[in-house]
């Protein structure tokens, strides 16, 4: 459905997004839809103007799972900045998502 959908919001002065994110979904499963919504909200709140999101629908092209060794869906992959990181789940736990993206420290 939304294979390769690019939701870019890069308004930083360099012109390129500093945060490159890829969200793997499986068609319109409820968790996939929720993950996309949550990711957009988190990025708008914490990375405004400096991110790009690529949504990959594995129902359309399952082979793309191999590149990032995706097992569970939805999975968010932080391609940039390095190192690559994965956050598995629908991102409904914002704190956990921020920790996974290393945008904040997890509470001890």
């Amino acid at each position: 459905m939304i294979a390769g959908t690019d939701l870019t919001d890069s308004t930083n002065t360099s012109g390129a997004a500093q945060w490159a994110l890829r969200l793997y979904v499986a068609g319109q499963t409820p968790r996939s839809l929720r993950a996309a919504e949550n990711l957009k909200r988190i990025c708008d709140e914490h990375l405004a103007g400096q991110y790009s999101i690529e949504i990959v629908d594995l129902l359309v092209n399952p082979r793309l799972a191999k590149e990032d060794q995706i097992v569970a869906i939805p999975t968010l992959v932080r391609k940039l900045p390095n190192p690559m990181r994965k956050i598995i789940g629908d991102l409904s736990n914002t704190e956990k998502a921020l920790v996974g993206l290393q945008l904040t420290r997890a509470k001890e």
Partner: protein, 543 residues
């Protein structure tokens, strides 16, 4: 919810398990660490219900398995769309059909699955589908089919088919074209009525029940000075006549106007039209407006008026002509009576007296013959003289009835002789000019001109008080003309009407019998009357 995670935590933090106590972490250790963390996340996500699909990898491919029903939105979409949707095996057997497709065929969905799609297609549609099955590819193909409903009725439909090689199935979206066809028919009907409206000679207007013009033909636009559509009929068309302004509410209820003559004011012009109006109904019999037609009959009226005027003129002419002929008839009867009286008088006064004397002479001769041959001879001589007188009288009478000269010597000489005799009789001076050669007229044509001369000279003698008369006979290539002019008191219009009209009409009738014409006029520049009679020559004149 942390129990599984603790197991990974133990494995990750127990240096004894790696056998390299106190040693620095190798890249393999780091990879292992990362994987542990990922598994930990996966398990945590599963436990917390944050994932609903998994990717299962094999050497050949990856397959996605969903925990929740990912197809549900698609199914809802397919089940609720307006088109029919069905999945066929390559043998044409229906694997799946949506509710709308079942509804098109008027059957239950459960009755469709497992049956051949060909059972529900027209022969032509089946043929197309048969051709399609081996050729269909991943590219969409569209073709028309006829769907056979349960009651046998065929409905037109558009099929859009695509092949899925992986599942060896053909997916078809079917669109019911019944409404589209109906729409097309309506559009065609509308185009036809529009065309009729535009080409109609009559002005045609469709108004709503309030009298607002909704449609107007080309001719209807010619009969007004503004664009009528959208305006009140009565504000556009200024009609004068019975039933105006039109009552659209009553017309919509069924009142009819049929070809009623009205006057239509268009700018500064007035046009006569035949107006018809009545309700218009839709297919369901509902009145939706009023149809007004106006036929411009201005041209027809004008032609009628011209015709009526021509008819009236002709009728007047016939009356006038009839009166002329009646007068002529009376005149001819009078002339005939006068001629009879004249002949009787001449026979009685002239020949009768002579014959009486002759009879007495012959009786005396009978008595004296034996006694006195000398006296007898004298009586015989007297009788002979009397017979001569009788012969002369007879010749004169016959000549008046029919001029012998005309038959014997032609018109030229007859005119000369008659003019001479008239001069002797009246004492009026006459100049006569005739051509040396005989004019090319038939005997009857010559007689007509001779009678014109006779009548004219009689009129001169009776009314003109003339001292001299000129008679001229002339000819050109086309006609022979006789002119009689006098220097008398002249002919007034009143005189023509009262005194000579019958005589003139008689002369005119004589020459018109041969295609000729006669003019009577006052002489130009002097007094007197001029009579001119012309007869076209039927034979070419002598060179």
């Amino acid at each position: 919810m942390t129990l599984p995670a603790r197991a990974f935590q133990i494995a990750r933090t127990d240096p004894a398990s790696t056998g390299r106590s106190g040693a620095a972490a190798t890249p393999a250790d780091e990879e292992l660490q990362r994987r542990f963390e990922e598994f930990e996340q996966i398990v945590s996500a599963i436990v917390q219900g944050e994932v609903d699909a998994f990717v299962v990898s094999s050497a050949a491919s990856e397959q996605v398995f969903t925990l929740s029903n990912a197809e549900r939105p698609y199914r809802l979409l397919v089940e609720n769309m307006q088109q029919g949707g069905l999945t066929l095996g390559l043998d044409g057997v229906i694997r799946y059909a949506n509710r709308q497709f079942a509804r098109m065929l008027d059957v239950e969905v459960a009755d469709l699955v497992g049956r051949s799609v060909f059972e529900f297609l027209s022969a032509e549609g089946g043929t197309r589908m048969t051709r399609l099955v081996p050729t269909v590819g991943t590219e969409r193909q569209e073709f028309e089919i006829g769907l056979r409903r349960k009651n046998g009725v065929l409905i037109p439909a558009l099929a859009s088919a695509v092949l899925d090689e992986e599942s060896s199935a053909i997916f078809i979206i079917v669109t019911d074209l019944t409404d589209a066809r109906r729409q097309q028919a309506l559009i065609a009907e509308e185009a036809l009525s529009g065309s009729i409206l535009e080409q109609a000679v009559d002005a045609i207007l469709v108004c709503d029940v309030d009298g607002t013009v909704r449609r107007a033909s080309h001719t209807a636009r010619d009969l007004c000075i503004v664009e009528p559509v959208g305006l009140a009929f009565s504000s556009v068309y200024d009609l004068r006549g019975p039933g105006t302004p039109l009552d659209f509410k009553r017309l919509a209820k069924g009142d009819m106007l049929r070809k009623i003559e009205h006057e239509l004011v268009v700018g500064a012009q007035r046009v006569t039209v035949l107006l018809s109006a009545g309700p218009v109904v839709d297919r369901g019999g509902q009145v939706f407006g009023v149809l007004v037609t106006m036929t411009d009959i201005e041209e027809r009226k004008r032609a009628e008026n011209v015709l009526r005027e021509a008819h009236d003129q002709l009728a007047a002419k016939v009356i006038e002509r009839t009166a002329e002929l009646t007068h002529l008839s009376h005149h001819l009867m009078d002339v005939a009576e006068e001629e009879r009286a004249s002949i009787a008088s001449e026979l009685h006064d002239d020949m009768g007296g002579i014959l009486t004397v002759l009879s007495m002479q012959l009786s005396k001769l009978q008595t004296v013959l034996p006694q006195s041959p000398e006296q007898a001879a004298e009586l015989a001589q007297t009788a002979m003289d009397l017979v001569k007188e009788i012969t002369a009288s007879q010749r004169r009478i016959v000549n008046n009835l029919r001029p012998v000269m005309l038959d014997s010597f032609g018109l030229n000489e007859a005119l000369r002789q008659h003019v001479q005799a008239w001069h002797v009789h009246t004492g009026t001076r006459v100049d006569i000019h005739v051509p040396s050669k005989t004019v090319p007229l038939t005997a009857n044509e010559s007689l007509a001109l001779f009678r014109v001369l006779q009548e004219s000279l009689t009129n001169v003698a009776k009314h003109a008080r003339a001292t001299s008369v000129t008679v001229a006979l002339g000819q050109d290539e086309r006609s022979v003309t006789l002119v009689i002019e006098d220097d008398g008191i002249g002919t007034s219009a009143e005189t023509l009407d009262k005194i000579n009209s019958q005589g003139i009409i008689g002369m005119r009738e004589r020459v018109s019998r041969f295609g000729g014409w006669l003019f009577v006029s006052r002489r130009e520049g002097s007094k007197g009357t001029r009579v001119q009679a012309t007869i076209p020559t039927s034979a070419p004149s002598d060179p």
